[in-house]
Symmetry: C2
Subunit: 327 residues, 2 copies
């Protein structure tokens, strides 16, 4: 039970989701002593579907993945993934260390057919709806083969789960011209241009990330993480400037009050908490990564994404398509 807010976020989120969904059961992996106080006073309707598996260790954000793998056999993250591997649960959601989740996930669940390394993928809001962006930090220093595999997985996700016919797939780059970019991106572009099963539409630049020009946008994990977190930084900065401007002077304050419902709707649309929950694509099991600083509302959103994955049978559909592509 990780993340910046620990059970303060994950347990209210779990209760909320259990209240909304009678078919859902949740198993919490963590230190029983820490978790128990949060479970006191729950109705039997909830508590009957919310159980705890006691774990004596937890993966810290500063732990190297290899350290977590070798030295923490009883970590909550590992125990949860083992439970998924053994079919005791159908999916796993975590707000812990991305690197450790990737390392343990690959080790315990294995990767999908033809996939060397899984990618983290999330839906980002756009002018026209949403686009899938991957990778978001599972891989740094990604080579062109991996970028090609990410493109395949993103394309399959958009077509299999969202029913998009021939999803438009783009590579995130620093220019739209063919000569721009680093070697990995240029090589991946060459590979994708030759792949008839992927509707590759070329490069997209950062300023068009939210324009909806592609259904799937592919990049190295370092780059994707910077793009996504910088977007959060811009939203925080604009909110700060807005508060400064609308908070000074009587007229401005009145305007701010009058416009609040509109600002709230705007905030709802762009708040990362409302888009929380990223898929670990390429693992043989549903693993969803929540943002480390997710609020209870944000973590609930990640749980929703997770249950959606299970209900749409996403992993099986993905594996079927990947096998077809790999032939």
């Amino acid at each position: 039970m990780g993340g910046d807010f620990g059970p303060h976020s994950t347990i209210p989120a779990s209760v909320l989701c259990l209240e909304q969904d009678d078919n859902l059961s949740i198993v919490l992996f963590g230190d029983e002593k820490v978790l128990s106080p949060f479970l006191v006073g729950l109705s039997s309707k909830i508590s009957s579907r919310l159980s705890v598996v006691h774990c004596t260790q937890s993966v810290e954000m500063s732990d190297r993945p290899s350290y977590a793998l070798r030295n923490k056999p009883d970590s909550s993250m590992r125990r949860a993934l083992e439970s998924l591997r053994d079919g005791k649960v159908e999916a796993c959601v975590s707000s812990g260390s991305t690197g450790a989740l990737m390392g343990l996930g690959c080790y315990l669940l294995k990767t999908s057919p033809g996939i060397d390394r899984p990618a983290i993928c999330t839906a980002i809001p756009t002018v026209t709806g949403y686009s899938y962006l991957l990778d978001l930090g599972a891989n740094v220093d990604t080579n062109s083969d991996s970028l090609y595999q990410f493109a395949m997985m993103g394309s399959v996700l958009a077509s299999a789960v969202d029913g998009v016919a021939s999803p438009k797939v783009a590579l995130l780059n620093i220019g739209e011209e063919e000569v721009k970019g680093n070697e990995q991106v240029k090589l991946a572009a060459a590979l994708l241009s030759q792949e008839s099963m992927i509707n590759y539409v070329g490069y997209v630049e950062g300023d068009n990330l939210y324009s909806g020009s592609a259904d799937v946008i592919v990049c190295d994990g370092f780059v994707g993480n910077i793009a996504l977190k910088t977007s959060e930084g811009v939203v925080k900065f604009i909110s700060h400037l807005g508060r400064e401007l609308f908070g000074s002077g009587v007229t401005s304050k009145l305007l701010a009050v009058a416009a609040k419902p509109l600002f709230d709707r705007l905030e709802k649309r762009i708040n990362p908490q409302n888009h929380n929950g990223a898929y670990f694509l390429g693992l043989q099991g549903v693993v969803v990564k929540s943002h480390g600083n997710a609020s209870a509302e944000g973590f609930a959103q990640a749980i929703h994404r997770t249950t959606e994955c299970v209900r749409t049978n996403m992993i099986s559909l993905l594996d079927e398509q990947l096998e077809l592509l790999a032939r």
Copy 2:
């Protein structure tokens, strides 16, 4: 005379700057036939300080830098840089291809003491003022030595030109913990930690890019370009959503009108056009890169940055400090 809008942007910008600054002279490099019509009817006070050097070639955005170097001896970009090298002008501003400007700049002007490759650096607005961000696209696949050199240049820029005592220097990374990031960033962190002449403050993540937590933020050019352009994308997206919300319904429209002065101030603070003009640090000459899609107002901003560089004697100060550091 490049950029998306060519002389439609650069000439009105030049005229504006010449009107504001009696000590300024501007030389336009480009096709005389294209430029002349824009110069008709200017007052002698302006036209006496605005001359044209006719060039028969121009570097296209799709030209590889090596192609521009070998096959375009009479390109406007090359001629302008040669003029700078020969001391006929004191600075050069261009909205043409970044790669070609980098290649030609290195070839014609040479790099500063101890600098392997120049970096593109701009001031980004933050909660507390502004921070310098570099590199923004001059280098892709940057190694740790280059990141270290970018840190030095950024630090010297902030102290020499802005008078910041002991500027805080950070590396842009995908986590704040020591184990996070790719090899280049981790190695650069190790180098910077040992450098007593740089006030290295550790990693900064994308979500803190605009928080003002560091005076200088250093990254690979691919990453910096994505961060900056994605920020533009977020601003565009929020503007779009704002127009959608404030443009629907009578109350919303009235609110939008009432709040317009505030929105205008907000827009002014974050509009990239108002922060246009990036320094090419590490070249032996003042070279400023304008955004390709700069408006006349935006290009004027880049000219202002350029004259500021000349007046503060930035390159000499930078070279002096770099020599001290290199000892």
